[in-house]
Amino acid sequence: MIHLTIDDKPIEVAENRTLLEACREHGIHIPTLCYHPALEPYGGCRLCVVELSQPGRRSRLVASCVYPCEEGVVVKTNSETVIRSRRMTAELILAGSYHTPEMLALGEELGVKEVRFKLPEDNACVLCGLCVRACKEIVGVSAISVIQRGIAKKVATPFQVTSSRCIGCGTCVLICPTGAFKFESVTGFQYVSPLESAYRLGYYRLGGELDLRPHFVQDVAELLISMKEEE
């Protein structure tokens, strides 16, 4: 068992727990966005930060979803530094998603008064990475990934066309906290947007040494259409 102090309370937890899990076990509220109990912790949104003090070191902010419980540490989940950090993080998230209801609610909860900086485009996707991680860790298909880097980062399929790996399970839609993924049914099979499905890039060379056309999606479509015709 590990012994630590959270918000001046002595806490005892089992081994191999993160600070977030310890807090949740003891009813201490910590906001999260990119955390999901079924996925490996990511540490990307930084909303779950808490102030950590180790003996002999200056206190610092750490992401509680990944930081392990260590013997003798002192944790503050709602100090001035923590509150300021979470508020700024929420304000920055809103900078890119200023009309998304879930994010506006988050901003209100964390005390955002004014969004002082706005990106030119408003995007429901907040790059929490849940969809990508779920597709990899739970579904095991890795049909989508985050591409590019920095401010240009976004979620997309390879070459930004309909993925041949996507099995249409809808996990990404369900796990997305802001509803950036939409479910639509077209000609008997489902595709997920905001990926540009209508654009078929010629990334195969017919008549070349290998035929690399995405067989899966086409075959399924033809199969479903033929099934419909049989009915």
Binding site: Y42, G43, G44, C45, R46, L47, V49, R60, L61, V62, A63, V66, Y67, P68, T81, R84, S85, M88, T89, L92, I93, A95, G96, R116, F117, L119, L127, G129, V146, Q148, R149, G150, I151, A152, K153
Partner: protein, 619 residues
């Protein structure tokens, strides 16, 4: 050469080479590092060899292309041995004269010598150059003396003797103890005690049974090229250091992660690895000790963030360079989940010296908490641009004015930026600070990897901060919110200020954002990205306020706050500026006064450059 099967065989080979090495023999040493290559050193080398051939001298004179000795401002560099006459800024056309006058007749060509700007005197000999006087060259010692792609050269000067000593007479515990005594701290910037790092990794490797070591050669700081010069000029020193470290930590596989933007360093490292393997100094059963160690190269692919340890490991594993939070630290769980020890190039290159001379000897150099030497790349508004290796504890003033030769053009020193995009600037009032880890952090700067950028009165500090922010913003991996969006918010604000749109409250907003991004970011990139902004505000707040409130850029740099105009009295109507203006912003006919249209003018400054009559001014 034949594979050395035992330590005894190595000793015989090494002693023979040392015996034959003669720096009193006539020889020409020419710097052939990337910097001098860009100035034509390869052609100079070829021409020298040709001319010497033609001259049919009595005693044969070898021409050696060496690694970068550091005096980049005066390249291409040539040193005539045995006297060590130092010729600078060699042109191809100088070569025949050098051969005829100096080699054949023994005469010195005055115009090719270095002129001391203080005394006006010509300096004949390399050791007398003021540039080298205050340096203490432990790591860069061999640069300028050996051909880094010849293992025989390295061994002749004592290379791989530390390895032989370690394999023959030291236990892993003893090696780690020696490194701890030396006080060596990570030279990549963080300054973590190296001996302690090795000890932790060693314990974990014993538990797990396996591990990796990595050399971080992803030198991404713009303006820093220390590691590059070590890799080009003396790659064997890094290899030797890594083998010793691997032996100390019980590890059998290592990687050198090196930027692909350093083709010569990569090439020379490849050659060195092949040579070390062929000699039996790397690979299976090194020197017959039973110890196996393999070293492979992994190229970077153009991402500054991959200098961060966890992103670097992700890159080696074939993934995108997104860092992950620590703990777990690489020493516990690194590459493919195994304990991994990552050290910077310069750190590894210090190891052979520590083993050869002993940790205590090393600890005699430097200050109480910062031992040894540090290589800095001194660049910017400085007379002697180049690489310098100085003992810790030397003051900034000494480095900039004594070694660096001061500011060109009699301009006033303004500030020196240490640590690149992660670091802070230090103004004139703190020039006497000793260079050591703690003193620099106290002033809001960091030691960093060694980049030292000097600015003068013509540098706008707001633009300078904006420059660094642009860089970190481009290099942000984008995983965490504070860095991805916070740096963008800071950059947008800085751009607005530089364009003339600054508003009251901007400085406070930058401070608030900067603080937050520092505290909340996931990795070192985000945690240090605001430093240039915060430190320029700390020491040069008046410049920010002038930009915002007075809409003035004192240094006349920020395009949105300056305008170019032509003095009618001085203009001769020669049409030169008009023709060179790519925006067609200048109007006027021949022999008539020309006029710049401020609405169209892009402030590129070409007109001022081309005007022979000083008629163009900027306000």
């Amino acid at each position: 050469m034949n594979r050395l099967q035992t330590i005894a065989e190595f000793n015989v080979w090494q002693s023979a080479l040392a015996g034959r090495w003669d720096e009193t023999a006539p020889c020409l040493r020419v710097c052939d590092g990337t910097g001098c290559r860009a100035l034509g050193s390869q052609k100079v080398l070829a021409s020298l060899r040709e001319e010497i051939q033609k001259a049919k001298l009595e005693t044969p004179i070898e021409v050696i292309g060496t690694g970068c000795p550091g005096f980049c401002e005066c390249g291409p560099l040539l040193t005539v041995y045995p006297q060590r006459i130092s010729y600078q800024k060699i042109k191809l056309s100088d070569v025949p004269e050098i051969v005829q006058q100096t080699l054949v007749k023994g005469a010195i060509i005055e115009r090719l010598l270095y002129t001391d700007p203080q005394t006006g005197q010509h300096i004949h000999l390399e050791p007398d150059l003021p540039f080298y006087r205050k340096q203490k060259r432990l790591v860069l010692d061999f640069n300028g003396r050996i051909d880094g792609t010849r293992i025989e050269d390295y061994a002749a000067l004592g290379g791989y003797r530390a390895l032989a000593k370690v394999l023959g007479s030291m236990t892993p515990e003893q090696i780690i103890a020696e490194v701890k005594i030396s006080g060596l701290r990570g030279r990549g910037g963080a300054g973590f005690p190296t001996g302690l790092k090795w000890e932790i990794c060693s314990k974990n490797t014993k538990k797990v049974g396996d591990g990796y070591i990595v050399c971080n050669a992803d030198e991404g700081d713009p303006g820093a090229f220390m590691d590059r010069s070590v890799m080009e000029g003396n790659p064997h020193s890094v290899i030797e250091g890594m083998i010793i470290g691997a032996y100390a930590m019980g590890i059998h596989q290592g990687f050198v992660y090196i930027r692909s933007e350093y083709p010569l360093a990569v090439e020379n490292l490849r050659i060195a690895l092949r040579q070390a393997e062929a000699a039996g100094l790397l690979g299976r059963d090194i020197m017959g000790s039973g110890f196996d160690f393999n070293l492979a190269i992994r190229l970077g692919a153009g991402a500054f963030v991959c200098g961060e340890e966890t992103a670097l490991m992700a890159s080696i594993e074939g993934r995108i360079g997104e860092p992950h939070p620590r703990p777990p630290f690489p020493a516990e769980s690194g590459l493919w989940g195994k304990p991994t020890n990552i050290n910077n190039v310069e750190t590894w290159a210090n190891v052979p010296y520590i083993i050869n001379q002993g940790g205590q000897e090393y600890a005699k150099i430097g200050t109480e908490k910062s031992k040894g030497t540090k290589i800095f790349s001194v660049v910017g508004k400085i007379n002697n641009t180049g690489l310098v290796e100085v003992p810790m504890g030397i003051t900034l003033r000494e480095v900039i004015f004594d070694v660096g030769g001061g500011i060109p053009g009699r301009k006033q020193f303004k500030a020196v930026q240490l640590g690149g995009p992660s670091g802070g600037c230090i103004p004139a009032e703190h020039l006497d600070v000793p260079i050591d880890y703690e003193s620099l952090t106290g002033l809001g700067a960091i030691m960093g990897s060694g980049g030292m950028v000097v600015t003068d009165e013509d540098t706008c500090m707001v633009d300078f901060a904006r420059y660094f922010m642009t860089f970190t913003q481009q290099e942000s991996c984008g995983k965490c919110v504070p860095c991805r969006l916070g740096t963008k918010a800071m950059l947008t604000t800085l751009e607005r200020i530089c364009a003339g749109g600054g508003q009251p409250g901007d400085v406070e907003y930058l401070l608030e954002l900067g603080d937050d991004v520092k505290n909340s970011s996931l990795c070192g990139l985000g945690q240090t990205a605001p430093n240039p902004v915060l430190s320029t505000i700390r020491y040069f707040r008046h410049e920010y306020e002038a930009h915002i409130i007075d809409k003035k850029c004192q240094a006349k740099v920020c395009k949105g706050l300056i305008h170019y105009s032509i003095i009618p009295e001085k203009c001769t109507g020669c049409l030169v500026c008009l023709r060179n203006c790519t925006s067609n912003a200048i109007s006027g006919a021949k022999r008539e006064v020309h006029v710049i249209n401020p609405q169209i003018c892009t402030r590129c400054g070409v007109c001022m450059n081309v005007c022979k009559f000083d008629a163009v001014v900027v306000n």
